[in-house]
């Protein structure tokens, strides 16, 4: 067999596979291509493809990066970046196969009480990096660790949405895993907070069931 042609074929197969992964994890791939290109070949060697699907190959790459132990070296923020990006991609894939969800119910002024919860498919992730700085055409070689921030990933029509949350908002969402009954807020800023969270899909609202 012609070794040169086999290598060419291997290169073509790998390029096609990486193209699929980049379609799902574009920011992660830009970071790796720019700052840790050896990681791509290490991935190809360690994780031969088990499926032709984009999501499956992206998941393999995500798992590989999370299990990576520093050789070859990679930016310190890469694991958090791929975690957030894959969560958004997975939420997008899941939403595309469902019927379109109705728009979020607003807070009805007629309600004296209502029930609220965080959507069951909401994912909350943590990071110490300002990952928004990495989701650009030219990601930095490193990011400084800062205060811990929470990231919410919400499936939605047309693609998942990612929100960078303040700590108290994240804590609130963690407390709202089950439906909780609340009195309708009197104060405008409290009402505005509930409506704002509902409009972004971070909480679901429903009237209290009649007795």
């Amino acid at each position: 067999m012609d070794g040169g042609r086999l290598r060419t074929l291997g290169r073509l197969i790998l390029a096609k596979r990486l193209g699929k992964i980049a379609a799902v994890l574009p920011a992660t791939c830009r970071c790796v291509n720019r700052h840790a290109p050896a990681l791509m070949q290490a991935f190809a060697t360690a994780c031969p493809p088990s499926s032709l699907g984009r999501q499956d190959n992206a998941r393999q790459f995500h798992d590989f990066i999370l299990g990576h132990r520093g050789d070859p070296p990679a930016p310190g923020y890469l694991a958090d970046l791929v975690r957030v990006e894959y969560a958004a991609a997975a939420a997008t894939f899941a939403a595309r196969d469902q019927p379109p969800a109705p728009p979020p119910a607003p807070l009805d002024p007629a309600w004296t009480a209502f029930e609220v919860r965080a959507p069951p498919d909401l994912r909350l992730l943590e990071t110490e990096f300002d990952l928004q700085r990495a989701m650009v055409d030219s990601p930095p070689a490193e990011l400084e660790r800062g205060r811990r921030r929470q990231v919410a990933v919400v499936p939605g029509a047309g693609g998942a949405r990612v929100f960078w949350l303040e700590a108290e908002t994240a804590k609130l969402l963690l407390d709202l895993r089950e439906w909780i009954r609340m009195k309708a807020p009197d104060q405008e800023d409290a009402r505005w907070t509930v409506e704002s969270l509902a409009a972004r899909g971070l909480v679901e609202l429903r009237p209290c069931a009649s007795v």
């Binding site: 042609r5 086999l6 073509l12 197969i13 493809p49 032709l52 699907g53």
Partner: protein, 296 residues
């Protein structure tokens, strides 16, 4: 006369739908139906109302020495029924072994043992899907040593033994003839008359001296000459332009469609003028009606 169409790609879906006519037919990749989103499947299922549809697969891996995936075949059958297609085509190749899927069409070791395996699988597929299967020749960049049969012999024998038809990819034939130094016209001449039910045409590129099947360029003149040779000996149902990338230049694809139509029309005139009248193919139910509609 054969219909002239394109391979459907979601990225160019709106462009393709707006271009019927001059596009006369569409070939759908069944794996896009199986793996696609709801919206993508709905778009595909609306296509039979627009023009005749033909079904092609990439995920079967006929040459893998395990039983064909029956769940996959059931999905193919279901989509074939919904799309009202006359046959189903796949590649004379393998792409995977248990636990490893390269998603790349790879050549088969052309031995009698592998021929047996392929023939068994073709029979399973035709039985399970309930439609004739067409076998497509692939482009390849290496060959296994110790072949017992050459490529034409392998393809012809597999079809003879199973009743499968041939989907002749003339661009793959051109690429292989460059990379392995054989006469593509001689290959075409070895295919039994009227065994070719469909053709694929595409345009690739070069990597050094190697010709590569990339589906991202217009169909080259040499491939169109092979089309002429194929049409002189065969009466395919459809001629499909495969373009997978570069849809901002969809005009190139439409130019390819027009060029192929001109060759088809010239070939049809030549056949009418010089050849004895051939018995008309029995129309395949609604496919015959759709073919008539497309020719208006």
């Amino acid at each position: 006369m054969p219909l002239v169409g394109v391979g459907y790609r979601h990225e160019a879906g709106a462009l393709i739908q707006r271009s019927v006519p001059p596009i006369e037919a569409v070939e759908i990749t069944v794996d896009h139906c199986i793996k696609g989103t709801r919206a993508q499947r709905e778009a595909l299922e609306a296509l039979p109302d627009l023009c005749p549809v033909f079904l092609h697969g990439v995920g079967l891996s006929l040459g893998t020495a395990v039983e064909p995936d029956r769940e996959y075949l059931d999905q193919v059958r279901d989509h074939a029924r919904r799309l009202r297609v006359p046959w189903y085509s796949e590649h004379l190749a393998f792409t995977k072994v248990p636990g490893l899927d390269l998603a790349q069409l790879l050549p088969l070791p052309r031995t009698r043992e592998v021929l047996e395996i392929v023939c068994e699988h073709v029979e399973v597929v035709q039985e399970r899907v309930g439609l004739p299967l067409l076998l497509e020749n692939i482009s390849y960049y290496f060959e296994f040593p110790d072949h017992q049969l050459d490529e034409a012999e392998f393809l012809v024998e597999a079809c003879r033994r199973t009743g499968a038809g041939i989907l002749l990819d003339v661009e793959n034939l051109r690429i292989n003839s460059i990379n392995f130094g054989f006469d593509p016209l001689a290959f075409i001449a070895r295919l039994p008359p009227r065994s070719v039910r469909a053709l694929h045409l595409a345009g690739g590129c070069r990597d050094g001296e190697l010709a590569i099947d990339t589906h991202d360029h217009p169909v080259p003149p040499a491939t169109l000459r092979l089309l002429e040779a194929a049409l002189a000996a065969h009466q395919p149902d459809v001629l499909i332009v495969e373009r997978d990338q570069g849809f901002s230049t969809f005009e190139e694809t439409l130019t390819d469609v027009e060029a192929i139509k001109q060759i088809r029309d010239r070939s049809g005139e030549g056949a009418a003028a010089g050849a004895p009248a051939r018995a008309a193919r029995a129309p395949g139910g609604s496919r015959g009606v759709r073919a008539q509609r497309a020719s208006r």
